[in-house]
């Protein structure tokens, strides 16, 4: 049976924890709004970009002269997995879910006899994957110094990935990130970026016949590397919103749990205080009776 003082201390410490988780939740909520705004602001660009690229790819694609980024190297022996996670923890299952999906994919590929290479963005995912697939790591991108994810960050990652592709280091690249649905739901997603895959663009491509300046191929060759950066940027923003959303709900749960715990501890505290008083009374009464 813990003493009254012990109980009191515990209640105090749980109260402090609750204050911290509450504060973290509110910070996450504010950051979530900013992250969502950023994701929202980038949407017009990404949408237009993919529409144009999609229609271009549809008309040029299939021919042998199409850029390697579009038609691939013709093999799928070596896979590059770009795993994007956060730099900080305390955000529920966010990092674990992305890492789990990536590990699952890596295990499948290894079992199928493919070569796997892993590029990690964000240290939490790196830590989670290191134990099982540490030997496949090829590079790591550290974003812990970055306060606001900008397009340049995505460009840097894209440059690294494209450099490796040009060097023939891999055939297929897939990015892993969490798609933001709402505060309680984030879906870990795998998306193939090289060779580029597009959803069918039946409306935009077919109806308008564009003139191209310079040639169609030249534009496509110019746009595809940008497309990689754009997709990575979109994924980074999506991830940022997901991270804050996950943290917000995780901290909300933690705050609620701390509240429950305080209630329980308070009841226990009151009971033992009552017991001490009763004991003292019994002692006094039995002492008086003995006289």
């Amino acid at each position: 049976m813990p003493s009254l003082k012990d109980l009191k201390n515990r209640i105090g410490s749980v109260k402090n924890t609750r204050k911290i988780t509450k504060a973290m939740q509110m910070v996450a909520a504010a950051k979530l709004r900013r992250a969502q705004d950023a994701a929202e602001a980038s949407r017009p660009y990404t949408e237009r970009f993919n529409a144009v690229l999609g229609s271009l790819a549809a008309s040029v694609g299939g021919s042998d002269s199409a850029p390697l980024l579009l038609r691939g190297t013709g093999k799928d022996q070596t896979h590059l997995l770009v795993v994007m996670t956060s730099e900080r923890g305390l955000c529920g299952g966010f990092n674990a879910n992305i890492a789990k999906l990536a590990k699952q994919r890596a295990a499948e590929l290894v079992a199928a006899g493919k070569t796997v290479k892993i590029l990690t963005v964000g240290k939490k995912g790196r830590d989670a994957i290191r134990r099982d697939f540490g030997q496949y790591f090829v590079a790591h991108v550290d974003l812990s110094e970055v306060k606001r994810i900008g397009y340049t960050n995505a460009q840097d990652i894209a440059k690294d990935v494209l450099g490796r592709f040009d060097g023939g280091e891999f055939d297929v690249a897939t990015i892993f990130y969490a798609k933001f649905v709402n505060v309680v739901t984030q879906i870990p997603t795998a998306q193939q970026i090289i060779p580029a895959s597009f959803e069918a663009t039946e409306d935009a491509g077919a109806s308008t016949l564009y003139e191209y300046e310079p040639s169609e191929e030249a534009i496509l060759a110019d746009l595809l590397p940008r497309g990689v950066a754009t997709q990575i940027f979109a994924a980074l923003l999506e991830n940022g919103a997901s991270e804050q959303g996950a943290r917000m709900s995780a901290m909300d749960n933690a705050t609620r749990n701390a509240g429950d715990m305080i209630d329980k501890l308070t009841i226990e505290y009151n009971r033992s205080r009552q017991a001490v008083i009763t004991n003292e009374l019994i002692e006094i009464i039995s002492g008086a009776e003995a006289l």
């Binding site: 950023a38 602001a41 980038s42 017009p44 660009y45 990404t46 237009r48 970009f49 144009v52 271009l56 900008g150 397009y151 995505a154 308008t208 016949l209 564009y210 003139e211 191209y212 300046e213 310079p214 030249a218 534009i219 110019d222 746009l223 940008r226 950066a229 754009t230 940027f233």
Partner: protein, 140 residues
Amino acid sequence: MADTMQFDLVSPERRVASLAVTAVQIPGADGDMTAMPGHAPMITTLRPGILSVQSAEGTKDYVVTGGFAEIGESLSVLAEKALPRDEMTQETFAEIIAEAKAALNTAKEVFKNEPGPVDDAAKLLSDMVALGGHIGLSAD
């Protein structure tokens, strides 16, 4: 023929401008061109330069550093970097120039025996410098 068309200038990070315009001068990769309502559908890549937008409110200039433009019913310019000309300061310009110079140097190192990428990077740099000269900023 309509007098105006919808014009959108977007960068990856935000929508820079969205308004009805009468004419837009675009720094195309193969030369400047002006798009007016009813222009033939066209897609062109951009070189670093000045995008001049004429609308009912007058003319407004934007600095773009590359990307592409899609001319159709409406005009969308998707630029890597885009900012209003008055927001272009000597510091921002110096940054962009430094970036282009660094890209040229890496291109020189990586593609020692292939002139293509080096020339591209050199052209990018000279376009940037020309752009600076155009708006009265020095490259050094």
